[in-house]
């Protein structure tokens, strides 16, 4: 299964809807997308992971890279995820302390820094 990516904006937030598998094979595509967004001035990102079936450490690395990049512009990167098996990966790597994780896109968009 491949990676699918869709972006849309709500106010000053850019929502990236990710679907499929974020793994060593597809992670470069997501990295490019995040870099493109930051380059074009989108510094407040919400990554919707509700349709992600598989996430591995290379995917985590890309998300962390994205976070560093938006922070360099005083931006934010919020995740939307309620899937237990995906959340587990954030938990065991301690990344739940690094990323704000929300239960819905609305909640993420409403959150203030």
């Amino acid at each position: 299964m491949d990676l699918s990516l869709e972006t849309r904006t709500e106010g000053d937030r850019t929502i990236v809807v990710v679907g499929g598998e974020i793994d060593v094979y597809t992670a470069p595509k997501l990295r490019e997308q995040l870099i493109d967004l930051v380059s074009s001035g989108a510094y407040h990102l919400v990554v919707d992971m509700e349709n992600v079936d598989f996430l591995d450490s290379t995917g985590l690395g890309v998300l962390v890279g994205g976070l560093k990049r938006v922070r360099a512009h005083e931006g934010s990167l919020r995740l939307v995820c309620t899937q237990e098996r995906i959340l587990k990966i954030f938990r065991i790597t301690g990344l739940t302390k690094v990323f704000p994780i929300h239960a819905s896109v609305d909640e993420a968009v409403a959150a203030t820094e």
Partner: protein, 144 residues
């Protein structure tokens, strides 16, 4: 005794093949369904790590994965021929990820595996690294 052995060139696409084999061979060996996800993820991490380490050092040899069910245990080994990465803790790795544009934070992989797998053994020698992971089998294996 390994019952299935897989060798593949160190390219990311084959990591998916290894994941798929991990879940099917695991299921067939009698792995509890609740563990299949974990096994797939852990094997995928170990293979992605092996591919990453080898590509970082330009090593073209094949990555070797073995699957064995033995005395109530499902054992998987993943062997690479790359130089092992330095041990690192996650905080450092998260910092290191800051500068990452082209390279992947290989150390993450082992950290994820360590978080997932209780029975884990990582041995490195001059020739490369072997990651050995075991899970309990609840029912007797249907293959041998």
């Amino acid at each position: 005794m390994p019952t299935v052995e897989l060798r593949f060139s160190a390219v990311p696409a084959h990591v998916r093949t290894a994941r798929l084999i991990a879940s099917t061979v695991g299921r067939r060996s009698g792995l509890d369904e609740s563990l299949v996800d974990e096994v797939r993820l852990a094997v995928g991490e170990a293979c992605a790590r092996a591919v990453g380490v080898q590509q970082a050092h330009g090593v073209t040899e094949e990555v070797v994965v073995t699957f064995a069910d033995d005395e109530g245990t499902f054992a998987v080994t993943v062997a690479d021929h790359g130089q092992a990465e330095a041990e690192a803790d996650l905080a450092d790795l998260i910092d290191a990820a800051a500068g990452l544009d082209g390279t992947l934070p290989i150390g993450f992989g082992l950290a994820v595996i360590a978080g997932l797998v209780d029975d884990l053994e990582v041995t490195s020698n001059g020739d490369g690294t072997v990651v050995r992971m075991c899970w309990p089998l609840l029912v007797p294996s249907s293959s041998s």
